[in-house]
Symmetry: C2
Subunit: 519 residues, 2 copies
């Protein structure tokens, strides 16, 4: 565990370390308060003479890693488009272990239960630490303080920002691709390991020193469209199997059948309708969870009834969103990741369904991003507090079990709505203070629960619009009291003082720390 830091209070009142693994850290200064004078990271200049004939194939991943100069202390990046079906990250660190390389920083866009295999390499020092979302076992491992350095969690946009700004310098990026050609052009649209798109690897391809594309589906040049541009790629490796198809995407997506969740979804849609958020030409984003999916379906019903159309929807895409596009209820899908086979087919075949990236959609350090243009976004949370601050990474017991995803970035959309059950497993979701602060309350507009809807007092416009609507509007304090009357006060998790991970805000500053869980 890294302990060589002092804690300082940031603008959100949270204690955060003054450095992360020896590199100075900037405490969160408030929403839109931090402005860097820095410049975009400039990688080393390459020249085509060192890539004769443009044929970049090498025999094995091991060869590619050795040719890339793999050595102690390097930063190795991977992406998570293969989700829980990824085989590549485990392969990489198996090779590193065989080669006796130590102290690697793993910089995945996210890790999944399939990467539990890597705990042995955190134990033996092959991997020093992880900077990236940790869904499940690795997050649990980190929470117990066993990782030798501090973890860093970023949003999708924050990950792009950190690479673009040179905050994280990637030595070797390994990009698994559904299809690729000998030049390194790659996409996720076809092949046994099709994942739809490869946007989470975009920054890696653009800024890493060495870039390795690994595919199980080599196509003749040109592999089109080039979601990853071969002009950024050093080596191409063909393997038998880069992922487990049925774990990469589901064959199909099903909406929730839970009556509680359906109620939340319906209330959310009704709120949006009554407040005029659903109107001709509006835009929305709904996550991949069961509730969010259902919200989309209720939106569709309302649009059909009114005879109106959304200008665009942001994905995660799935068959429901694709059906809405095909029905003409949505003008375009701007997609960040595909969750099922219908999503992939639509992205491949329908020009109105296009891939985006954390650069286009989420990067705070750009000249605008798409999230700003979205009218309504529906998100989840593990906890919210009475100031509308929200947590998406830790559970009420303090364990770090989820990544941030695009959640923080989506808070920049025009109206942010969190449909949440008032309690989970008899633990209230509305708390006095969130265990981990991921999103400042000033950016969160509405909490929809099964027992009432709370509107952030900052949104006086919405408060006005619900007057006389018959919607069950309450204050967030009222909702908290109701929950506590049923379940009692939420218990505080048992946490040590040691910081095991930091949560970055979208601008690269540190918004909160994750403390060690006392087991």
């Amino acid at each position: 565990m890294y302990t060589n830091y002092k804690l300082v209070k940031n603008a959100a009142g949270r204690l955060v370390p003054d450095n992360v693994n020896g590199e100075a850290a900037i405490p969160f200064m408030g929403v839109d308060k931090y402005k860097t004078e820095g410049r975009i990271y400039g990688k080393k200049i390459s020249r085509i003479a060192d890539y004769p004939n443009g044929d970049k194939r090498v025999a094995t991943l091991r060869d590619a890693l050795i040719s890339s100069g793999l050595r102690d202390g390097m930063t190795i990046s991977t992406h998570h488009h293969f989700r829980n079906g990824d085989l590549l990250a485990n392969m990489i660190f198996d090779i590193a272990h065989e080669l006796g390389v130590k102290g690697l920083r793993w910089f995945p866009s996210a890790s999944f239960p399939c990467h539990e295999h890597l705990i042995q390499y955190l134990e033996d020092g092959t991997i020093s630490h992880i900077e990236g979302s940790m869904n499940g076992p690795l997050g649990h491992y980190c929470s117990t303080g066993k990782m030798s350095k501090m973890a860093v969690l970023r949003s999708h946009g924050g990950r792009y920002q950190s690479v673009q700004d040179g905050e994280v310098q990637i030595d070797i990026a390994v990009i698994g691709a559904g299809s690729a050609d000998l030049f390194g052009n790659a996409n996720g649209l076809e092949g046994p390991s099709a994942s739809g798109l490869l946007g989470f690897a975009l920054a890696d391809s653009e800024y890493a020193d060495k870039v390795i594309v690994v595919t199980d589906n080599l196509k003749p040049f040109p592999c089109m469209p080039w979601q990853i541009q071969g002009n950024n790629v050093d080596y191409v490796v063909v393997v038998d199997k880069v992922g487990i198809p049925e774990r990469i995407v589901s064959g199909t997506t099903n909406v929730t059948k839970s009556p509680d969740r359906l109620l939340l979804a319906e209330m959310t849609a009704k709120f949006c309708d009554e407040t005029g958020l659903i109107k001709d030409g509006f835009s929305f984003q709904a996550g991949a969870g069961g509730t969010s999916l259902s919200v989309g379906n209720y939106f569709a019903e309302i649009m059909r009834k009114k005879g109106i159309k959304a200008s665009f929807a942001r994905g995660g895409s799935n068959k429901y969103l694709v059906e809405m596009l095909e029905e003409g209820l949505i003008g375009y899908i701007l997609d960040g990741q595909t969750f099922d086979l219908d999503g992939i087919a639509s992205m491949r075949d329908n020009p109105l369904h296009t891939w985006t990236s954390p650069f286009t959609s989420y990067n705070y350090h750009g000249k605008g991003n798409f999230a700003q243009l979205v009218d309504v976004v529906i998100l989840g949370a593990t906890e919210v507090d009475v100031n509308f601050n929200a947590n998406v990474v830790t559970h009420s017991d303090g364990y770090l079990l989820h990544g941030i995803g695009g959640w923080q970035n989506c808070l920049y959309s025009k109206t942010v709505i969190l449909p949440l059950p008032l309690f989970r497993d008899r633990i209230p979701v509305i708390v006095d203070e969130v265990t981990t602060l991921c999103g400042p309350g000033e950016l969160i507009d509405v909490i929809v629960t099964e027992r009432g809807i709370a509107i952030n007092p900052l949104r006086t416009d919405l408060l006005e619009k619900v007057q006389g609507s018959g919607l069950p509007i309450k204050t967030i304090q009222e909702l908290q009291v109701e929950a506590e009357q049923i379940c009692g006060k939420a218990q505080k998790p048992k946490l040590g003082d040691e910081v095991v991970a930091v949560i970055k805000w979208v601008d690269g500053t540190i918004i909160d720390s994750v403390k060690r869980v006392i087991e």
Copy 2:
């Protein structure tokens, strides 16, 4: 005229200045000999907070230029997709002149006769000099030594390289677009000023400090596909008319009817056939000139006869290439610019016809480029010498009248063929030494003339293949003698000692100087 330099001899034996307008210059060191240790240019980091709601519209181009901080000595870039129908460059410098701004460096990807209007601003000091291809009047003006600083000519790939490497730092890029949205996403596929694609402005959008998109066809967000990404754009301006449609693209393209050119084209195709260059899965690029167009048609005939197919063709596209794609004779068109309405429609509607950019196709300072993967490229030249060195920018009278285009970059293709008439206006095209060296002879493989074909002695493989083919193979010296027997020796142009422009090689070094013409 800038004169504060010393001349040094470069590896090609040409005298080049040791600095260009006060900035140190690197003399050409030989093909693939120069290797920089530099890094890609990093522009200032932006943040979305400074682009509220992502709506970047301002009322006028004047407003956008003022907001961009237009001031003395800045570098202003434009692209040439509107070719001789461009209205934008003239507008920009009219505004600069009104505002009294002086000493601007104009950095167009190319200039055309429509920009003759700007000579007044070169005269009055609004514009200090031009770095970019000068087709026609501006080139003529430069040749006479009237420009107050030295001009710099680069290939399309070299222009990308210079921007990417920070050799040229663009203060304000102004990008005319057939279509754009309020966020700055833009493409050239639709609208009255459709130009097909906007690849020549890609580097400008990525690396300029401020980026202004100007359109006469504002579309609702999202303007798709985003050939220019709004995330790189600062301001969006809507004007009545950004270009003159009939001068941007021709309604249609016609192949040459000149019997001389048709003969050259036929001989070129026959050469490619006899030497086995035309085979199933081969790739080719033919320029937009009449001869090159006809070569494509002869290729098509041969492919039809043999029942084979090209894997891809690189454009400039036009109706002939589009017809070949639709007939199935070509797998893909990888297009750098569209020359007629059929080209635009195909690029818009046919997923097998895609846009490329100087980054993908031509940048020498990348991890490979597409030009390397092309089997046969057909190019032009104003002169070649007995060592196969070629000139594409000056005429035999010494006037600088053409840009380099992608010509230098295409020399990296596997076989480079120049079909050339043996003489033009009774002046031999094969000379003892080219007036201006643009491409080293070692990269040029074959000269096809109406009186015989010369193969570069370095290409022993080709020399072997033509044995017994019946093709009229001669040495380049034999061709020179034949021409001189008819026309006499080519006269040397009357040139002063002063350097008015330099020609960059693809790696940023200086391959030759252009001298003042004595009128």
